[in-house]
C-alpha cells in the first residue's frame, strides 16, 4: 500500500481508453455500491474515531484481499490540494468526498485504487464505503460483475450493516437496498441540436432513470454529456437494475444515431460547418475556457463519430477532456495558474495534441493546384 498519487499505476485513467461498446457515444460506465460497517455512525454523523476505525479496517483488510493485491490506499487528508483535485477530475473521487471548500477533508477520508482491475473504494464519504468500477464505453454487465466480486470479498471480511427487509443500509434512504447506482456517461449532441433531448430526458424519468452532469450529483450538463443512472435502488435485483439501464441506454444511443442521420440528411452543410469551425478553433485558438473547450470538443467528437474528421481518434478526444481541466493543467505547469493563464495553457495543450495526434486534412483538398489570382 502506498500513499502517494504519483505511484498509482495508470493514475486511474483506464476508463479513457475508448474501448467497450459505442465508445464514440458512451464515454464511460460506472457501477457503485454503497456499503456501511456495523457499529459506526454514518458519514455525516460520524466522529473522528468512527472515521478512523472505518479506515483502519480497510487498511488492514485490503492488502489481504486477492482482488486488491498491489492496490494503493491514498489518504486524502495528507494529500496535496492539487492532487486531490486531480482525483476529482479523473472522476475517481466525488465532490462529496473532498468537501467543496478546498480545505483538506477530515481525518479518515481516503480512496483505495486497485492496480489489477478498474476498481476503487471511497472511504468515509456519505457512506463508509463506496465501491466502484469505472470502465470505458458501454459495459454495464462487466462493470457490475467486477464490483460484485470486490463486494463479495470485502463483505466476507468486514461485517456490513444489513437489514433482512431493507437490504444494505445506507445513510440516505434513496440508496438503500442494493446500494447500487449504475451510470453511463453519454454524449448526445444530435439530440440536443434537433431539440429532441427534452423528450428523451422526460422519457428517462418515466422508466425509473435519472440524469446528471459530468461530475455526478448536482453538477451541470456541459458539452452535451449526460450521466444517465438508475433512480431507485430497492425492490429490484442488481442484475435487473443493470440490465434495465443497459436496455434504455441502447435505445437512447439509437435515438441519437437517428438524430445524427437527420442532421446529415436535412442540414449537412450547417452540421459540417459547425464541426469544422469547432475543429478550427481548437486547432488554432490561443485561449480557451474549459466550458468553451467542452462545447467545441462536443462538435469535434460528433465529427469524428460521423467520420467527417476521420483522423481524430476517440481516445485523443477523451484525453483532451481530462488533461485540460484546471488541476491537470497546473500539474503539467508545475504551479498554480490564475484563470486567464489557465485558459492560455489549455489552448496550447489542445493545439499541441491536435498537431501530433489529430492533424486533419480537409476532404476537399484534393491536391489540385490553386488557380492563379485572376487579377
Amino acid at each position: 500500500m502506498m500513499d502517494d498519487l504519483a505511484t498509482v499505476p495508470d493514475f486511474g485513467l483506464g476508463w479513457l481508453d475508448a474501448s467497450g461498446d459505442h465508445p464514440d457515444i458512451v464515454l464511460s460506465t460506472r457501477v457503485r455500491l454503497a456499503r456501511n460497517l456495523q457499529g459506526h455512525a454514518f458519514g455525516p454523523r460520524a466522529r473522528v474515531n468512527d472515521r478512523e476505525a472505518v479506515l483502519g479496517r480497510v487498511r488492514s483488510i485490503a492488502p489481504r484481499m486477492d482482488i486488491l493485491r498491489g492496490s494503493s490506499l491514498i489518504d486524502l487528508t495528507d494529500l496535496g490540494a492539487r492532487s486531490r483535485r486531480l482525483l476529482l477530475e479523473r472522476r475517481i473521487v466525488s465532490r462529496d468526498l473532498l468537501g467543496d471548500n478546498g480545505k483538506a477533508p477530515p481525518r479518515g477520508t481516503a480512496v483505495v485504487l486497485s492496480s489489477r482491475a478498474p476498481l476503487s473504494i471511497m472511504v468515509n464519504e456519505e457512506d463508509h464505503l463506496r465501491l466502484q468500477s469505472l470502465v470505458s464505453g458501454l459495459r454495464l454487465q462487466e462493470a457490475w460483475r467486477l464490483v460484485d466480486r470486490l463486494d463479495e470479498e470485502l463483505g466476507g471480511s468486514v461485517p456490513y450493516a444489513y437489514h433482512h427487509e431493507f437490504g444494505f443500509l445506507t445513510s440516505c434512504p434513496t440508496n438503500v437496498g442494493t446500494g447500487l447506482r449504475a451510470s453511463v456517461l453519454v454524449h448526445l449532441p444530435a439530440l440536443v441540436l434537433t431539440k429532441e433531448i427534452t423528450k428523451v430526458l422526460h422519457g428517462l424519468g418515466q422508466v425509473g432513470l435519472t440524469f446528471r452532469g459530468l461530475y455526478g450529483e448536482g453538477s451541470e450538463v456541459v458539452g452535451n454529456f449526460f450521466q444517465v443512472s438508475n433512480q431507485t435502488t430497492l425492490g429490484k435485483s442488481e442484475e435487473d437494475l443493470v440490465d434495465h439501464l443497459d436496455k434504455i441506454v441502447r435505445q437512447v444511443i439509437q435515438y441519437e444515431t437517428q438524430a445524427r442521420q437527420v442532421l446529415l440528411r436535412d442540414a449537412r452543410g450547417v452540421t459540417e460547418d459547425k464541426i469544422w469551425r469547432a475543429y478550427g478553433l481548437l486547432r488554432f485558438a490561443r485561449s480557451l475556457s474549459f466550458e468553451e473547450l467542452m462545447n467545441l470538443l462536443s462538435g469535434v467528437r460528433l465529427g469524428a463519430s460521423l467520420k467527417l474528421l476521420p483522423e481524430l481518434r476517440v481516445y485523443t478526444l477523451n484525453k483532451l477532456m481530462i488533461f485540460t481541466q484546471p488541476a491537470h493543467l497546473e500539474q503539467a505547469a508545475g504551479r498554480d495558474l490564475p484563470p486567464a493563464e489557465g485558459d492560455a495553457h489549455r489552448a496550447a495543450y489542445v493545439r499541441r495534441v491536435l498537431a501530433t495526434e489529430g492533424d486533419v486534412t480537409p476532404d476537399d483538398w484534393s491536391g489540385r493546384p490553386i488557380p492563379d489570382d485572376p487579377s
Binding site: Y162, H163, G167, P173, T178, G235
Partner: protein
C-alpha cells in the same frame, strides 16, 4: 391516465398539493393544466430529498407510532432526519423503521430488498440458508438468460455454501 378535469386527453401534469396537511394529487392534460396556469416542466428536475421530506409535513408520523424518539446509538431524532435527509447510523433504520417504510414506498415503490442476500463473515445457519435461497434465485435468472458463465460462478458459490 386521463385528465381529472376534462377526462378527454392524457394527463401529463401530476400536481401534488398539500393544504392543511392534507395531500391531494391531481392529474391534468396539457390544456387543462395551462388553463390553471401550470406548465409541464421542460426537463425533469432532480428534487433534493430534503425538499421532498419537508413537503411530507407531519403526514409520515401518522403512519408510524406517534413519536419514535431518538436513536439509542447515535442520538438522531426523526426531525433531524427530516432536516438533512440522512440517517445517522445503522440503528436508526430499526429505530425509525415504521416511519421509513412509507418514505421507502414513495421513493422506491416498495420496502423489500430483492437483490443480493448478504452473508456476513461468521454467518448463522439461517443467514446461510437465506443466502442460498438468494443465490439459487440468481442462478435461475442466469440460466433463463443463457448466461452460462455467470451461472457457473453462482453454482460454485452455492456448492461452497451447501451443507455436505
Amino acid at each position: 391516465m386521463l385528465c381529472d378535469n376534462c377526462s378527454q386527453a392524457d394527463a401529463v401534469v401530476h400536481l401534488t398539493q398539500i393544504v392543511n396537511n392534507q395531500m391531494s394529487v391531481c392529474h391534468l392534460c396539457e390544456k387543462c393544466a395551462a388553463a390553471k396556469g401550470l406548465e409541464a416542466s421542460e426537463a425533469p428536475t432532480n428534487f433534493p430529498l430534503t425538499d421532498f421530506l419537508a413537503q411530507m409535513g407531519g403526514e409520515e408520523t401518522a403512519e408510524g407510532s406517534a413519536d419514535p424518539g431518538r436513536c439509542g446509538f447515535c442520538g438522531l431524532t426523526f426531525s433531524d432526519f427530516r432536516d438533512t435527509g440522512r440517517l445517522g447510523c445503522p440503528h436508526c433504520w430499526a429505530t425509525f423503521e415504521g416511519h421509513l417504510r412509507g418514505l421507502l414506498r414513495r421513493i422506491h415503490g416498495g420496502t423489500s430488498h430483492v437483490g443480493k442476500v448478504y452473508l456476513p463473515p461468521d454467518p448463522t445457519a439461517s443467514e446461510r440458508e437465506k443466502r442460498l435461497e438468494g443465490l439459487r434465485r440468481r442462478l435461475q435468472r442466469a440460466v433463463d438468460q443463457e448466461d452460462f458463465e455467470r451461472a457457473a460462478e453462482l453454482r460454485d458459490q452455492i456448492r461452497a455454501l451447501e451443507p455436505r
